[in-house]
Every structure is written in structure tokens, then in C-alpha cells.
Amino acid sequence: MNAATKNALINIGTWILVLLFFFPVFWMFVNGFKPESVASSINPRIFFDPSTEGYSLAMARGMGGYLRNSVIAASVATVIVIALAVPAAYALAVRKIKSVENALTFLISTRFMPLAAVVLPLFMILKTLDLLDNVVMLAIVYGAVNLPVAVWMIRSFLLEVPFEIVEAARVDGAGLYREMVRVVLPLVMPGIAAAALICFIFSWNEYFLALLLTSAGGRTTPPFLGSFVDGRGQFLAVLSAAATVAALPVIIAGWVAQKQLVRGLSLGAIK
């Protein structure tokens, strides 16, 4: 076998593996457009009369409201995280601060705490304050969950800013605000974008806290999807349609921002 054939075979093998790996997502997408009886049939069909029945059924189950809540929860959480993480990361990177490592350890250790251990008193406190089933409150909790990761990420971008630029701005008499907003932040916009993206993805996809802290008016999309587990009868088409709609925003955002994703997921460790 010569090198060219071998190469072609590896290429074909690679594509087969990739398509196999992607298949469940493809199948979800396809099933969403099947009439229910076709989707839930024992023999899978690739050719069928496409229908939007699944989508209209999902909407009829009130999916619009859950999506709206997801948008609020993820956006508010992202805004909170960026607003708090940028100054904190700045203090930990550009301005030298004593015990940087202590602060970083504290931050990341809060991320190690199983959410389940914190959620019980949180549940009780929110219940007393009548803040359960409140989507903004959920967003605030998401903010706390994602803040440490965002600080780590933005700091790693800030560490790459040449310190001389900051010094020069200081010599020119720039105040803290100008030093931060005018000089340094524009240089780390990609890092802030990456942190925002990761925070949005995690908040959009989060299931556990949403399941426990919301019940009706504040409920987001993941627990709505989870409720299909208790469904009876045939529901694969409507489930696939709902899952497609729920997953699409994040999938597209991730596709567009692949580069930021790698850096973000590794907390900034991988450039």
C-alpha cells in the first residue's frame, strides 16, 4: 500500500468516526422534524414528510416562557460576573497585590464546593425571603458559581498586557479609572469576551440549581426538558424539537467562538 492510499484511508476513517460521534446530535435534529408516529417507530426512518408538529407541540407546552427565563438568567448572570470579575482580576494581575495566591486559592476553592452542599440553606433562606422561583435570584446564584472561573480567565489575559503601558499611563497622570477603562481593558477585550461566553454557556445549560430553586414562573429550559423523563406515550419528536431549540443558541455561539472556547475552558492556561 503506498503512502497516498494509506493517507486517503485514514482520511475516510477519520470522517466515519467524526460522523458517528456527531450522529446523536444529527439524529436529534432530524427527529425534531418527524411526525410523532414516525419518530417513535421501532424502525428508524431517514426519509419522511418533514413536519413542524414537534416544534408547535413544544411551544404549546409553554417553551417560549422557559426560553425567556433562560435568556434572562444567563444574561443577568453574565453581566454580574463581568462587572465583578474585571476589577478583581485587575487587582490580581496589573496592580500587584499581596497574597495574590491566597485570593486565587480562595476563589477557586469556592468552585470546588459541591453546589448541593450550599443549595440546602440557600433554598431555605430564599424560601424565607420569598425569593424562590425568581429568575433574577437564580441569575445571582449563577453569578457566584461562575465568578471564580471568570476571574482566573481574565487575569490570565491581563498578565499578558505589557506592564510598561500601564506605567506610562500612570506617569501621564491617568487615574485608576482611566488606567483601567481606557488603557488596559481594550487590550483584553478578547479575554472578557471569552469569560462572558463561558459564563453564558454554563448558565444557559445549568440544570441542578434551576431544578431546585425554581418551580413555575421562574423555571428555565433545562428542567423543562428534564420533565420529559416522566412523560407517557410517544414524545420523541416533541422532545427532540425542544432539545434542538434549547441547545441551538449555545451551539452556535460555541461554533463561532471556537478559539475563545479553548482558552476559556482551560481557565486561560492554554493560549
Binding site: V18, A88, I97, A117, G254
Partner: protein
């Protein structure tokens, strides 16, 4: 004389300047520390309010007798709740489930991630599309992923896997009943392979070209180059992948809640806690489970953290 005197005054003036400079520098230093605190404080206070204080409350709850069925019988019990946690027999199977699910999923996703990273680091027609398709499972909402696998892949009647087995003339398998642990591990591996692939792909692309070139010139074959140059280079990337993957999968909840509801040896610590806290009615005992779980996770996480710091601090200090 005049000259000497003027030099002396100049020195004195210079001294004065340096003293006042020092003073201003000192003042600037203090000011800087204060601004740093001011910048850092909101984030720290926010985190303390939402994570540390609830945890302290959990510790408080864990020492009281408080069952929602008997709201009038509330009182201090000391370590009784902990005693019942350790004597219940739930804890040990749960630790085993957690360790098994986490380690199997992490190791398998690193192996598959490495395979795909190597395959997609080559020149391949449509490589950008292949990479984009590959990362999708990681972006897919985990609850959606678990549901899709449960019904359209694993289901005994309408699942594709059993259809394929029937086509091949094999017996069908009731996945979630007979292999609950593996269904969870398969779904987690599927979700985390792209994550590992992305990290390892970055590692492969960061390989110094000259070294590979030199190895080729020296007549090293593909396999030797891979084991002697590529693998050692990838080590740090594998470490990052394993550590981050472990931290995330340790706490994983969605696939267990959706696929098995903790049956068949899949009741991880995170799920056990959920069950105690929100299905059971004993607040005190739930809190004790919470505290014990946190301690167990911290033990696992500390080992992880130590290595994490070695990796991150190497490139991070200025």
C-alpha cells in the same frame, strides 16, 4: 569655597527631595494597596455571601434535629446526624460510584480526545467542519444530551443502538437496567471527549516544528517521534485536561438524574446529597450529608489543586 558650599546645599536639597520622594512613594504604595482592596472586595464579598455563609449554615443545620414531618420537635443533637450518616451504609457505595464514574469518564474521554486530536491535527479535507462537528456534544445542553441518549439511543424499543444490534442479528440490550453505570459513563465520555480534544489539539499545535523536523532528519519513524517527542510534550496538556475534567465530573448531576435516577450503582455523592436534601425530609441529616460530602470532595480536590497550581503558576507570575 563658594563652589563647595553650593555642592553641599545641592546634596542637602537632593536629600530632601529623596526623603519626600520616599514619602510620596510610600503614600502611593498605601493608596495602591487600598485601591486593590477596593477592586477585589466586591467579588470576595459576593462569593462569601453566596457560598461561604450558606455553608456555615449547613454546618449549623447538621447539628440539629429537624425533620419537616415533625416541625415542633426541633433541637440540638450534636453529632447524632453524623452518626446516622456513617451508619446508614449509603456513603461507601456512593464514594465508589463517584470514583468509578469520574475516573472511567475522565480516562476514556482523554483517550478518545487524544485519538481525535491526532486525527484532526493531520491535513484532512474539510478539517474545519470536522472539528466544528466534534465540539458540538460538549456545547449541547447536558440535560438535552442525557435525554437524547436515553430515548433515541439507548431505549429498548425506539433506540438506535438496539436497532443496530437487531440488524446485526444480536440480542438487544436493556442499557439503563442492565448497564446503568456504563450508560452514565458513555454519555459523560461522549460529552467530555471534545473538551479533551480541544485541549490536546492546542498541545499538538504548540509542538515546536524544528524538533519534529530534526527527528525526521535523524530518521525517527512516526511511532518513535510520537512516543519520544509528542507524548512528553503533551503531558502538561493531559494534566490540565484530567484536572479540569475531574473537577467538573466529580459534581456531575444531570446525566444521573435523567438516565438512572441513581439506581444500579450510579448514586454519586452529588446525587445522594440531592436525594437526601430534597426527596427526604430530614433537614439535619441532609445537612450532615452535605458537610461530609464537602469534606470528601475537598480531599479529592486538594490533590487536584496542588497539581493545578504547579501547572498554572509556572507561567503566571510576574
Amino acid at each position: 569655597m563658594n563652589g563647595v558650599g553650593s555642592v553641599a546645599t545641592m546634596v542637602a536639597v537632593e536629600d530632601d527631595v529623596s526623603v519626600s520622594q520616599q514619602k510620596t512613594r510610600h503614600r502611593a504604595q498605601i493608596k495602591r494597596v487600598r485601591t486593590n482592596r477596593r477592586l477585589l472586595l466586591p467579588a470576595i464579598v459576593f462569593l462569601i455571601l453566596l457560598t461561604q455563609i450558606p455553608f456555615l449554615v449547613t454546618i449549623g443545620f447538621s447539628t440539629i434535629r429537624w425533620n419537616l414531618l415533625y416541625p415542633n420537635d426541633v433541637g440540638f443533637t450534636g453529632f447524632d446526624n453524623y452518626a446516622s450518616v456513617f451508619s446508614s451504609g449509603d456513603l461507601w457505595p456512593s464514594i465508589i460510584a463517584t470514583v468509578l464514574i469520574t475516573s472511567l469518564s475522565v480516562v476514556l474521554s482523554v483517550l478518545f480526545g487524544l485519538l481525535f486530536a491526532i486525527l484532526l491535527d493531520r491535513k484532512l479535507p474539510g478539517r474545519a467542519i470536522a472539528r466544528t462537528l466534534m465540539i458540538t456534544p460538549f456545547l449541547l445542553m447536558p440535560a438535552a444530551a442525557a435525554l437524547i441518549w436515553k430515548y433515541s439511543m439507548f431505549d429498548t424499543n425506539i433506540g438506535i443502538i438496539n436497532w443496530a444490534l437487531r440488524m446485526l442479528g444480536l440480542d438487544q440490550v436493556s442499557w439503563s437496567t442492565n448497564y446503568p453505570l456504563w450508560t452514565v459513563v458513555i454519555v459523560l465520555t461522549w460529552q467530555f471527549t471534545p473538551f479533551m480534544m480541544l485541549i490536546l489539539l492546542a498541545g499538538l499545535q504548540g509542538q515546536p516544528g524544528e524538533v519534529l523536523e530534526a527527528a525526521k532528519v535523524d530518521g525517527a519513524g512516526t511511532w518513535r517521534t510520537f512516543t519520544w517527542i509528542t507524548l512528553p510534550h503533551l503531558r502538561v496538556y493531559v494534566e490540565i485536561g484530567v484536572l479540569l475534567g475531574t473537577v467538573i465530573i466529580l459534581q456531575v448531576f444531570d446525566p444521573i438524574a435523567i438516565l438512572t435516577k441513581g439506581t444500579g450503582g450510579t448514586k454519586t455523592l452529588a446525587y445522594l446529597l440531592y436525594e437526601r436534601a430534597f426527596i427526604g425530609l430530614d433537614v439535619g441529616q441532609a445537612a450532615a450529608y452535605g458537610v461530609v460530602t464537602v469534606i470528601l470532595m475537598i480531599v479529592i480536590a486538594t490533590i487536584t489543586l496542588k497539581t493545578l497550581f504547579k501547572v498554572f503558576m509556572a507561567g503566571g507570575n510576574r
